[in-house]
């Protein structure tokens, strides 16, 4: 049976992991390679490395981190942040990523989705959508949530799928960082609108939240960063709770 995926996200600034870093027994808790390996050992089904470095121009730092992380990671590995053109994606794949996540660049140039998918396959292209509820519908924001595009999230998800996206990484800006639960209404609306997998993000605070987003939100996967040291000790424990609630997960793993 296909299982629901639990994805650990590492937010990285200047080559260092800045959230979700409180592992015990790590020599260097800010090192992306060590964090990724620790999450994988604990049962993460995938790892996402998100470069949130504000300044541009230090792509080498990101690529070094990708190379170091990929070397001994044998679960799917997605890299996002600052990928603006095909060449950026090529460099990230060459460094060892299995998938790339694109957000603002895809909104600006939807054809970029097809360009990258044409070269690396749709399975390698994750379109990240940041959505916020405004006047009863979900609006797409870009540039780290700073700029409203005036686009509807559900329509944009459909278009991204048609353009060749392999998965949608859907972040609720209203819930992000609140630990008050995923936005199941948003997730479900998108999950029912597209046939490609939808990864829910934003708001994870407890095992109950994951159960709800899989049951009510119809998410195929759920992503979290900081949760894995708040309340839920690690992914293994979360998966055991999901398993006990009859959510199919890769457990034991």
């Amino acid at each position: 049976m296909l299982t629901k995926r639990i994805i650990a996200c590492l937010d990285m600034d200047g080559g260092r992991v800045v959230k979700g870093v409180q592992f015990k027994n790590l020599r260097d808790a800010g090192d992306p390679a060590e964090c990724a390996a620790a999450h994988a050992r604990n049962g993460a089904d995938e790892i996402v490395l998100l470069d949130i470095t504000a300044t541009s121009g230090n792509r080498e730092t990101l690529l070094d981190a990708v190379r170091g992380t990929a070397r001994s990671l044998f679960v799917p590995f997605t890299v996002g942040g600052g990928i603006r053109q095909l060449e950026d994606a090529e460099a990230v794949f060459a460094a060892g990523a299995d998938k790339i996540a694109i957000n603002s660049a895809a909104v600006r140039e939807p054809a970029l989705i097809g360009k990258i998918a044409g070269r690396f396959g749709s399975q390698a292209v994750v379109v990240a959508i940041d959505a916020k509820k405004i006047n009863g519908s979900f609006a797409v924001f870009v540039a780290g949530g700073r700029i409203s595009t005036g686009r509807d999230a559900i329509q944009w998800a459909r278009e991204a799928a048609v353009c060749g996206a392999g998965e949608i990484l859907l972040t609720s800006m209203d819930r992000d960082g609140t630990q008050s639960g995923f936005d199941c209404e948003l997730v479900r609306a998108v999950a029912e609108a597209v046939s490609i997998p939808v990864i829910a993000s934003g708001g994870a605070g407890s095992a109950r939240d994951f159960i709800e987003v899989f049951r009510d939100g119809r998410a195929d996967a759920a992503l979290a960063a900081s949760i894995f040291h708040f309340g839920i000790e690690n992914i293994s424990q979360l998966k055991r709770e999901l398993h006990d609630a009859n959510i199919p997960v890769r457990w034991p793993c």
Partner: protein
């Protein structure tokens, strides 16, 4: 690990071969990535990876790799097809009917039924046919999880050594003599996947 055998990973321009190479490097196998038919014929073992559309297999015909691969497999050289590389072992795929597969296994690859979302992406369990005595899956526990990402699936054939369920049962792994195929990605399937690659490396 392993013997001194040399493994060629066939590069026909479809997708990203890094993760397959990296996994073989990790287990200590000697691998070379090549698009040269002569190299394919010279090495001890062959891996045909691949993701994406069946039409990308057209490139095998263009560069003369198809003949080399057919020659090597019929000579009994260990061959592992991964994902699209496994689908190539069949007669063809409804995804692109103009491109012929190798026809080493009978049947054609088909899309999933419309009742399930496509593509099939994620970790699914493997029901291993223990009667079949797979060499590739030796030591792999029943219901182990492996990572899949694909829209088309291979039919169940007599040589199916493991199946997974997604709207229907499909071939997760096939094996006849020294010719092996896996629909999932062993290079992305954690320790289970590494064990499978090691089994191939140690043949």
């Amino acid at each position: 690990m392993i013997s001194t055998s040399k493994i060629a990973i066939v590069d026909y321009g479809a997708g990203n071969l890094n993760s397959v190479k990296k996994a073989f490097d990790y287990i200590g196998a000697e691998v070379v990535v090549t698009d040269q038919p002569e190299t394919v014929l010279a090495v001890d073992k062959i891996v045909l990876p691949g993701v994406g559309h069946f039409s990308s297999l057209q490139a095998l015909n263009r560069v003369g790799l198809r003949e080399a691969l057919l020659q090597a497999t019929s000579a009994g050289k260990p061959f592992l097809g991964i994902c699209l590389g496994m689908q190539w072992l069949f007669e063809g795929s409804e995804e692109c009917s103009e491109i012929a597969g190798a026809g080493i296994f009978t049947g054609r690859c088909r899309p999933f039924p419309s009742a399930v979302k496509s593509p099939h992406v994620g970790w699914n369990s493997l029901q291993i046919d223990v009667q079949n005595g797979s060499r590739l899956l030796q030591g792999i526990a029943q219901d182990s999880f492996v990572y899949y990402t694909h829209s088309f699936h291979a039919p169940l054939v007599a040589e199916t050594t493991a199946v997974s369920d997604y709207g229907l049962q499909f071939a997760g792994a096939i094996e006849r003599g020294n010719t092996f195929g896996v629909q999932f990605h062993p290079e992305k399937s954690g320790d289970v996947g590494l064990s499978i690659l090691k089994n191939f490396g140690e043949l």
